[in-house]
């Protein structure tokens, strides 16, 4: 037996492939006879189009120019995957002359080379008959999402009267701009038809969903679509859905009768895939003099498209994070001439926490109470929204561990009271939470006579380390050295995995891998009558295969299951120039079992840096006059660079054994690592400057 691998610090098994350029991303697959596609996109937000393709058709190298006038009518059979909006109908491409948002695909050019395709796309002549467009959220009346109003407006107790009667009150509006995921790898699809069978090499966080969606769009059997996506160069949620460009690639390949590659440009990334929606929230908290929350009223509305109702878990944590008898939450949407938003790392939770945890800080100031103390005084015994016990909740341990590591007791409460030279120093904190998600998953383990094992599941690895952690779980379960286990993912021919999102991959795929390996191991040992697996594998002389499916039980009915955490931040603000730099972040997380301490820490650091972006710089600047994104590039859309990463980023995993969540006992880390960072920074900036900025990002102009 080898030493236990789960919990160990193991370097990425795919690290070498990535740093040497040997890992193959979607656009890099070599497919014979490949043609290239380029998309013509709308420069109007609403209206009708007329297209003249004569010049494009004559351009060198052009194989086909596809518009609504000559495109095959696509089946667009009903299909709603988990990441799709529950209400509405996905965008149909090239099926009619209407446009309803900027950047909508209106023509597709297929040519021999990429340059030829791009050039021909540029000479497609489009005339627009513009109609009035809703591109400014201030001019749109928000509405409750369709159906189940009880999901979107929830009350317990008497929030209105309790708020009015509360001795201490905070009631403020907090604004988050639209943010784009901006993964470094741009979306790309290669589509190749053979008869009625389609192979797609795609950048995706869920290959099976791509197969199902494209099968529905083209009206073919799902089994006829194979999707291959072994490596993903960052996604942050942008690869959860199957976006229209995948349909366009397949359509182009069908029309051209050749394999087609479609690669989105950086500018197209702001129109071709979703984004974190512009969100306006009002948070009102009422408390007694001793800091007991009496009332929470939290409402928010977000931009969505005219054709789909995008919603996310904006207000769910408000209902259980802090103890409060009287709570009202209301989530609305503002349908606009934009393309549909989507999930972006900790969708909803990170956005909602910005408002709630900022308001908690404002309440602490009003009460003249330490913000950690305020949270400790409102620590619930159980989930008050579901009236269920938490399967585990380590909030107190997180506050304690992070505060101690940070040195929080040295903080002087008064704003502008801490300085370093010219800089104003601010210390701020916030709570974090993210649900434990566990979904049905399958995996297969194959033991070979040479003493090695192959383990597989159609999961994805957009960066959190699925390749590595699954190899670890498999090797640990089998009791084999890690070098002898090969894990494979990212292909619809492998056993089905759930969506690579919602921080559920470790829990779901990890549990399936563990189950499959156990099954294979037991079978090998039984067959060989041995109690040593390596011995058994050699002795049997055969390949032993086992597939396992895991599925959640009724634990969601018995427990409320979430990861919890606390984030502490130190900022330095230049009082004259308004520049904020984050100096330290300490995060403590109770997230169940940690499978790989090194990669888990790396994932949390990534979340912290993402939170710096959200707090201080990220902003898709939409021209309110016409809905175009004015900074659709990585020069003017600022994300943190190395120089923005603080020298100290401390990650603490508090010991947490949760037997209820899933067989592996993990809660997921990918998203909680972002939650709480932006409000902790905003709170630290208030502590540094005395200025409360309620509109992200907090750029220098807002601090002058």
């Amino acid at each position: 037996m080898t030493a236990a691998l789960i919990g160990k610090s193991v370097s990425r098994v795919d690290g070498r492939l990535k740093v040497t350029g040997a890992a193959t991303y979607a656009a890099e697959f070599e497919v014979p006879n490949l043609a290239h596609a380029a998309v013509v996109r709308s420069i109007a937000a609403n209206g009708r189009i007329a297209i003249d393709t004569a010049e494009a058709e004559r351009a060198p190298g052009v194989i086909a120019v596809v518009t609504h006038r000559n495109a095959p009518r696509l089946a667009y059979q009903p299909h709603k995957g988990l990441p799709d909006a529950a209400v509405g109908e996905r965008l149909h491409v090239l099926q009619d002359d209407r446009v309803n948002h900027q950047g909508q695909p209106i023509a597709l050019v297929v040519a021999e080379t990429l340059e030829q395709a791009v050039h021909a796309a540029e000479v497609v002549r489009v005339t627009y008959r513009n109609e009035a467009a809703a591109t400014d959220i201030k001019s749109v009346d928000p509405v409750l999402p369709t159906g189940k109003p009880a999901e979107w407006e929830i009350r317990r107790g008497e929030p209105d009267s309790a708020f009015e009667q509360a001795e201490f009150r905070v009631d403020q509006t907090y604004v988050i701009p639209r943010e784009n995921h901006n993964p470094i790898e741009m979306f790309a699809t290669i589509a190749a038809w053979e008869g009625n069978s389609l192979t797609l090499w795609d950048k995706s966080q869920w290959v099976h969903n791509v197969a199902e969606e494209i099968a529905a769009v083209f009206g073919i059997a799902t089994d006829n679509v194979r999707v291959i996506s072994p490596f993903v160069g960052g996604a942050f949620g942008s690869g959860l859905r199957c976006w229209p460009h995948v349909t366009l690639a397949a359509l182009g390949a069908r029309v051209a009768g050749r394999p087609v590659k479609l690669l989105l440009s950086r500018r197209e990334m702001y129109y071709g895939v979703g984004y974190r929606p512009h969100t306006v929230q009002r948070a009102a908290l009422g408390a007694s003099r001793d800091g007991q929350l009496q009332a929470i009223r939290h409402e928010g509305h977000q931009e969505t498209s005219t054709y789909e109702e995008f919603t996310e878990a904006l207000l769910s944590a408000t209902r259980f994070l802090h103890s409060c008898p009287n709570v009202h939450t209301r989530h609305r949407i503002a349908p606009m001439n934009v393309h549909t938003p989507t999930y972006m790392r900790a969708p909803g939770e990170a956005s909602g926490a910005y408002a709630l945890e900022s308001a908690m800080d404002e309440l602490a100031v009003a009460l003249n109470m330490d913000p950690v103390e305020l949270r400790l005084r409102n620590e619930p015994d159980r989930d008050e929204s579901k009236d269920l016990p938490f399967s585990s909740r380590s909030t107190r341990e997180c506050y304690r561990a992070a505060a101690e590591r940070f040195g929080w007791s040295q903080r002087t409460a008064e704003p502008r009271s801490m300085r370093d030279g010219r800089s104003l120093i601010g210390w701020g904190m916030a709570s974090a939470t993210y649900p434990m998600n566990y979904a049905p998953a399958s995996a297969m383990a194959r033991l070979l006579p040479d003493g090695t094992a192959e383990v597989m599941s159609a999961a994805s690895d957009m960066g959190p380390g699925t390749w590595t952690s699954m190899t670890q779980v498999a090797a640990d379960t089998l009791g084999l050295p890690i070098e002898r286990v090969k894990f494979t993912l990212g292909d619809t021919r492998l056993p089905r995995a759930p969506i690579h999102g919602g921080s559920m991959t470790m829990a779901s795929v990890g549990s399936a891998v563990q189950a499959a390996c156990r099954k294979a191991r037991d079978e090998a040992l039984a067959r060989a009558g041995a109690n040593n697996l390596e011995e058994a594998m050699k002795r049997s002389g055969q390949i032993i295969e086992a597939t396992a499916d895991v599925t959640p039980g009724d634990e969601t009915k018995r427990f409320s299951m979430h990861a919890f955490g606390a984030v502490f931040v130190e900022v330095a603000v230049d009082p004259d120039l308004g520049e904020t730099r984050v100096r330290r972040i300490v995060g403590a997380y109770g997230a169940g079992r940690v499978v790989n301490s090194k990669i888990a820490r790396s994932q949390c650091i990534g979340g912290m840096i993402g939170g710096i972006g959200m707090a201080l710089m990220e902003h898709s600047v939409v021209d309110l006059r016409n809905g175009r994104v004015t900074n659709a590039n990585l020069a003017e859309y600022a994300v943190p660079v190395h120089a923005d990463a603080p020298p100290v980023m401390d990650v603490i995993f508090v010991d947490e054994h949760d037997p209820h969540v899933n067989p592996l006992g993990v809660k997921g880390l990918g998203e909680i690592a972002l939650v709480g960072v932006a409000p902790a920074i905003a709170n630290a900036i208030f502590h540094a400057t005395g200025k409360r900025v309620r509109q992200l990002p907090i750029t220098p102009d807002k601090l002058l």
Binding site: E122, L577, R628, T630, N633, P700, D701
Partner: protein, 332 residues
């Protein structure tokens, strides 16, 4: 990219004969050197020359220092100049401005001449999804005037254009009285850097004073500005790899605890690199008292015009001047 012919002349005189027009946005023949900005603009159809004349390998890339001062060959890269010992020691303002620009990868590729002639970051100029841009399409209007103009200029603007000149290097050079040497088919001439770029007025598509065929061959910085106490201050939304929200280049001579002479230029706020003679005059003879500096810096606001989202720059640039003077004064 609009289809074009790439000419690769053997020497500079052959290059000049193509009549390429640098510094205007409607020219059918243009030069390309490092290409870090040009390629982006070509790819996005912002510029569509039919012919591109490559200057690779045929332009001076030397860095020389002598009794007359500093001479930077137009093809010297940003990285080479920033790291050059004589530049670091005698003209640290230049090195600092360069190291505060772009990223190491870009600095390894981008040249001196190209840096001075790079185009504005105005999003309306760079997105052909907007029809209105007088700089890109003369007479089409300016989408920035009432649009998203947080990035835009408050100095040197016109009713036709408020785009910022994005170079940090040019701001430092203009503060140091630098000139550019130009060569054309008609011979050589020298132009003060402060006269290289045009104000937008009603012809924002004309960006610089180069004649057809003319090319920048070198930048010269007079020895009189060597060894000054200086500081390049750059304010931006993130710590690195970003264009300036506001920048200030300051070089001073001191006389005990007083400023004898100051040179002050601003970036991020002007339609061209912006020297501030009135602020310099007010600083001459001043001590480093914050109130005095503040009063002098306030003169920078003369002639400013905000367009809403960029109003804050008028205050921020004054603060940047004060800070840069303070830091320069504290240097040895």
């Amino acid at each position: 990219m609009h289809p074009l012919v790439l000419e690769r002349p053997r020497d500079l005189s052959a290059a000049l004969s193509f009549g390429a027009q640098a510094g205007r946005n409607d020219a059918p023949v243009e030069y390309i050197a490092g290409g870090t900005d040009m390629v982006q603009l070509l790819q996005e159809y912002v510029r569509r020359p039919d012919r591109l004349v490559s200057l690779a390998g045929i332009l001076d890339d030397g860095i020389e220092i002598g009794p007359q001062g500093l001479r930077l060959g137009a093809a010297a890269t940003m990285a080479e100049v920033a790291a050059h010992q004589a530049v670091v020691e005698q003209f640290p303002l230049i090195s600092q401005a360069l190291l505060n620009s772009a990223s190491p990868q870009v600095r390894n590729q981008a040249t001196m001449g190209g840096n001075l002639l790079q185009r504005t970051r105005c999003p309306y100029f760079r997105d052909i999804g907007y029809e209105a841009c007088n700089k890109r399409a003369p007479g089409s209007g300016c989408a920035a005037l009432d649009g998203e103009n947080r990035w835009h200029a408050v100095l040197g603007t016109s009713d036709d254009c408020i785009a910022v000149h994005p170079s940090d290097l040019a701001v430092a050079l203009v503060a140091l009285d630098a000139s550019v040497e130009l060569r054309g088919t008609g011979g050589d001439r020298s132009v003060p850097l402060s006269d290289l770029h045009r104000l937008p007025r009603d012809t924002p598509h004309l960006e610089a004073v180069l004649e057809p065929g003319e090319v920048i061959t070198a930048i010269t910085v007079p020895a009189t500005t060597a060894g000054l106490r200086s500081h390049y201050l750059k304010v931006r939304d993130r710590a690195s790899f970003e264009f300036a929200v506001v920048s200030a280049a300051v070089a001073i001579e001191t006389d005990g605890a007083r400023i004898r002479q100051a040179r002050v230029a601003l970036g991020g706020v002007g339609t061209k690199p912006w020297r501030l003679p009135n602020v310099e005059t007010a600083l001459a003879g001043a001590d480093f008292e914050p109130a005095v500096l503040r009063q002098a810096a306030a003169l920078a606001a003369e002639g400013t015009r905000g367009r809403g989202h960029n109003d804050f720059k008028i205050e921020l640039m004054q603060r940047a001047i004060v800070r840069a003077v303070e830091i320069a004064g504290a240097r040895r």
